[in-house]
Every structure is written in C-alpha cells, then in structure tokens.
Symmetry: C2
C-alpha cells in the first residue's frame, strides 16, 4: 500500500487526485474529461500520436500533455491505459514499469485474458467500460460517456484490496457502474453477447449483398425492407482497426461460439427440411422465453443498503467479494475499505441498491464465510 | 374487366367504393380503418373468429360485420385477405370463388410463392405490407399503420392491368408505397433480410441462455452488456403462430440462406484459426461497404414527374412495367390507366418522384420497347 493511498484514504474520490491517461482517443479522452470535471483530478495525458495529444490538451481533456510516458505517470494515483487491444500487454507493462508503487493501473480493452493473465502485479486490474466506440477520436470525447454504463473490472487473487477499492470508487466517480468479473468469464460473455453478434451482422450484410446485388446496373440499393434488417446489421463492419484486434484476441472463445451457432443452425435447418412445425414452434417459444429471462431488467430502484463485511488479512479477499457479487449480477454502487491499524484485518463497506439485491449480497458474502452486518 | 371497374374508372380512389376485409386482426383491421377514413369506402368485414369480428364492428374498423364470407364480398371492388400464411391458399381460393368478376383480390402474407403460384385468376394479386406485427389483434389496429410503408405486390403475366391499377391506387390511398416484385424474388428477399435475421436472433438468444445461464441459482439475468445484444435479438421469439407458418412456407429459400450463412461462418472461423489479421480486416471492411451500399437511402425528395407509356393490348403489360420499376427500386407514387375505347391499346400514367428516378424509369420503360413521354 503506497504512501499516496494511505495518506488520502478513506476519503472517497480524494484518492484519485492525479490521474494518468495513456492513450487519448474517445475512451481515454472521455476518462480525462470526466476525471477533471467530476473528480477535480489533475489529468496527465500521454499518447504516441502527437496530434491526438495536442488536441487533447487544446480541448481541455487533459491538464498536462506529456511527451514521455514517465512524465504522465509521475505522482499518479490511478493510471488508465486506453490503447488498442493488440498493443495492450506491451503498453500495460511499460506503464507498470514507470508507475509509482501506490498507483493502481487499469486498461479499457474489450478482451481481458490476454492482458490479465500472467500479469501478476498487485497494482494492475483489467477493465472494460461498455461505452460507445462508434465515433473514434478525442474530438468526440464527452464527460458523460460513461454515465450509467457498466464498467467491468477483472481483479485477481493478486490484486491489492486497497488499490481495487480506489479504482472502484474512481470509476463510480466517473459516472459508471463498476462490476467485478473474472477475466475468462468476461471474455466468454463478450464472445457471446458482442463478438458473435458482430460476426453474424457481418455475415448477414455480406450474404444480402451477394444474394441481392445486381452487379453492373450500378443500383445495388436494397429493396425496401422493414426495420429488422437495419437493426440486425447495425454493428456490421464496425471500426476495422479496433475489431480485427478484438476478434483475434478473443478468437478461442469466439470460435467456440461460432461452432455452437453452426450446430444450432443445422438443427433449425433439419426441422425445416422435415417440415416439423412443432419443433419450429418449440424452438421459437424457447427463444422468446430465453430472451425474456436474459434481458429482464432487475428492479433498479429502491433504497441503498450498506453492508459491512469483516475481511481477513489475506490477498485477494476484496476481489473475491466483488467477483462473487458480480457473478450474481448484484451491483456494488459504492465501496469503502477500512483497514485496521495493524493491517491484520479490515472492514469493507458495500453499498447495494434495492432490498432484494441487498439481501442477496448478504447471503453471498455469508456464503464466503465472512461476517457481514447491515450498517 | 368488370362493370364496376369500368363504371368508376379512371377517378382515383373512387373505384374502391366497397372494400372487403377477410380477417380482421391487426393488419386487416388497419386496412379497414384506413379504407374508411382515407378512401371513404364502405368496409365489409368477415372473420371466422366471431369475437374479433364483433370487436372490429364495435371499434369502427368495419362498417358491416358479415357472418358469411359471401356477404362480405357482395359488391366488393377490392378484397383484402389478411389470414395466417398457413391458411392463405385455402382462404384466397374461397374468396375468389365468391368475389364478383370485377373485384381485385389480394392478400397480406409474408411469403408469396405458395399463394401466388398456380393461382392464375386474373383478379388475384399477391401482396405483403411491410408493417408492424408485434402487437397482434384488432384492438391495436390503426389507420396510419401503413403510412410510408412499402407494400409489395406480386402481379403476374395473368394479372388484369385494370385491376392491378386499381389495387395500386387503393394501396397508395391507404398511405403505403406499393412496389411490384416477382413472387420468387420477394421470397428470396424476405428469406435474406427478414427470415434469416429472425433465425439468427433466435440462435443468439438460445446460445447466450445456454452459455451464460446458471441453472439452479434462480438468477439467470444476463450480466450487463451494451445495447448491441438487445438490438441484435430484438426479433427473437417473434409470435410463434405467425412465424412457424412463415418459416415453413419459405423453407426452401430459408434453408439456402442458412447453408450460405454456415459457409460464411466457416470462412471466418478458418481466418480466426489461422490468426489471419488481413483476411479478418478485409472481411470486416467488405461488410461495412456492403451495408453502406445496401442501406444507402436514395434521395426521397424532388418533384413528381408524370410519364405516359403507351401499352399494347396484351396480358401482363402493366405487371411487366411495374415489375421492371420495382426491380430497380424506382417507386411508383401513383398510377392511372387509360384504356383506349376499342381496348386495343392503352396509356398508363406513372407518377415518379425525383429527377433521377424519373429519368431511370423512362430508360427502363423504353428498354421494354414501350413508347414513353414526359407529360
């Protein structure tokens, strides 16, 4: 635990007084803006693209433009790495090499195993904000980009509880909803709900273009259709530089999802070939029911409950609690960690909205054998 | 050509003074409302579901509720059959058997070959309005349901030009954009831009439910995701009664589309397995370009041009002209047919919006060797 963390802890937000943003595109720039406006932080930026760095300074996205990575990290409490997925492991290593001992380092990549696994520095926590990427570039940065957005964090057993706590509160301060998830589970989830849908959208448009295109007459405009094709293909051909990296970084999980989709298509095809109306009807009813269950929105409102959990002094317990709640889709609205003076144990306060989620959180934490009380 | 058609022709709309609606659900009910409100027609309704028929009368969707099909068709100028796709061939045959000689009969089914092929009555024209089906039932009927919507019509060589002309104008009067298309092309188009997207949406949700579901803990709520999964699966599990019919009625075309999708998925998978970044990038760039071309919206505005086309007196020429323009995505805003007194030839006036589309229409019609002039 660094001097800077101890010094300011436990005042919320105050412990992210200096924020480093490495990579000032849409995401990094929006982090910078939100950190300046909402946390009152001093934001130090670095980007290998000098034009982007200058634009960030000119637009007020960062306070200080640093040509050298070391300068951006000087005195930083939190460092955000917003670099392309393909270069993340390399950039994160460089940041960890130059960041102060008490600085928590996170990234914003859409695939997590590659950057998380084998990187056992207690200061590093993988991250992934689920926020817009359709208009790239610092000129589109907005302080409110993360408002209400889920921001996945992938702590591991090796993660410092104090630093995780600081990162969780910093991200909540940016307006997002930090949610802990295991890196492997995250990548499976994204393969299923994001990467495969992108692949299928691409398949749909290329198939339509070939089936319907009338080469040579110069008028390949699609005949009028309902809105469903537009919706289903909205993400087709997303930013190639970003998505080639994502597809390849998560290719193991994505190939399994593709195989599964092909199997399922084969089953539907067989039912069609048999003219099996009852199989088709059952499959369609099942899909409706699956979607209802998957997308059913929990009751978002309700009072905020504070749970106080006593934690033993051993590595990874904060991550363990956060991951357990993340797995059950119980959102931690806020978090505060109070280490005992002798550091042999500590208490973590978890703020959870809604009676059901609070009860559920209490059960889950108790299930981990940590004493828990409602404050 | 019936007395009733001759008598009122060529006054637009006035030749749909009596409209029969067979099947008064959402679509039939909305046709009834629009025909009453916008065409000033007398609407006679029939439905095997007595409750629906009574509701339609009570809601003012129809003027007259007829228990017998024959009564609904008595004196009708236009008959709309809005029955489930599976029963359409049977119901259309019954309607043709009872409809007056000069009555144009159309349907509203989402698949067209099954009902069009082999049904060579000159009074029948297949139809398919691209308008909402998410809230079924006459109580959701709205006079503006078809405003601006494409309404496909599938005339054949055997279709009466006079009756096609009347139907085209009636449908434009309901607020829709009638567009001629070959029945087989229609079904291929729908397999590609609607039925396959529905299948893929079902596959996505069932796959996600199985990959992410945690059986037993009673909390299968999907972890937070961006909006793309919601968009991509919006049509999953659409009305089973309607969609089982649609999938089966178009199964030949749909199976070919599924096979094509499986082939394309295999290609992407192979590129992922090879770690072939340039193949992935090229595929993704191609998808973006395909989507841009497919969904690029033509300039909708501009002045309306009237083209006058001289037509020989032989069957199917009106359908031929309409299909040629439909194929090129040139929309006919309105149409009027003026048969010569001796019926050896006629002139059709086509109203087309925009300079480009008018020029294109002129070329296409000239290409069919029919004399054409701008009025």
């Amino acid at each position: 635990v660094s001097a800077s963390a101890d010094q300011r802890h436990p005042e919320a937000r105050g412990d992210a007084a200096v924020v480093a943003v490495i990579g000032v595109g849409l995401i990094g720039g929006s982090i910078g803006l939100a950190a300046r406006e909402r946390l009152g932080a001093e934001v130090r930026g670095h980007d290998p693209d000098r034009g982007a760095l200058e634009a960030a300074a000119r637009l007020g996205v960062i306070d200080v433009a640093c040509d050298a990575l070391e300068d951006a990290l000087d005195g930083a409490d939190v460092a955000f790495v917003a670099a392309p997925v393909g270069t993340l492991p390399h950039v994160v290593d460089a940041v960890l090499a130059h960041a102060p001992p008490g600085c928590v380092v996170t990234d914003a990549g859409s695939v997590k195993r590659g950057v998380v696994s084998g990187r056992d520095d207690e200061r590093f926590v993988g991250g992934h904000p689920l926020a817009g990427a359709e208009t790239a570039g610092v000129e589109h940065a907005r302080a409110d980009l993360f408002d209400g957005a889920t921001w996945y964090l992938t702590p591991t057993e090796g993660t410092s509880g104090v630093l995780y706590d600081r990162l969780q509160r910093t991200i909540a301060g940016l307006g997002a909803r930090p949610t802990a998830i295991d890196a492997g589970e995250h990548d499976l989830l994204m393969a299923t709900v994001s990467h495969l849908p992108h692949v299928l959208a691409n398949v749909l448009v290329t198939e339509a273009a070939q089936a319907l295109g009338r080469a040579g007459d110069g008028r390949e405009r699609l005949p009028a259709t309902g809105p469903s094709f537009r919706d289903a293909t909205r993400v087709a051909g997303a930013n190639t530089a970003i998505w080639t990296d994502i597809y390849l970084a998560n290719r193991d999980a994505l190939m399994r999802r593709i195989d599964d989709a092909v199997t399922r298509l084969g089953e539907v095809r067989a039912a069609l070939e048999r003219g099996d109306a009852s199989a088709i009807a059952e499959w369609n009813d099942g899909a409706r029911e699956d979607r209802r269950r998957l997308l059913e929105v929990g009751i978002a409102g309700g009072p905020v409950h504070e749970l106080r959990v006593s934690l033993p002094n051993r590595p990874g317990v904060v991550a363990q609690v956060a991951l357990e709640l993340g797995r059950a889709a119980v959102n931690i609205e806020d978090m505060a960690l109070y280490p005992a003076a002798d550091m042999t144990s500590g208490v973590i306060a978890l703020f959870v909205r809604g009676d059901d989620d609070a009860r559920r959180a209490e059960e889950l934490v108790a299930g981990l054998d940590f004493p828990v009380v409602r404050a």
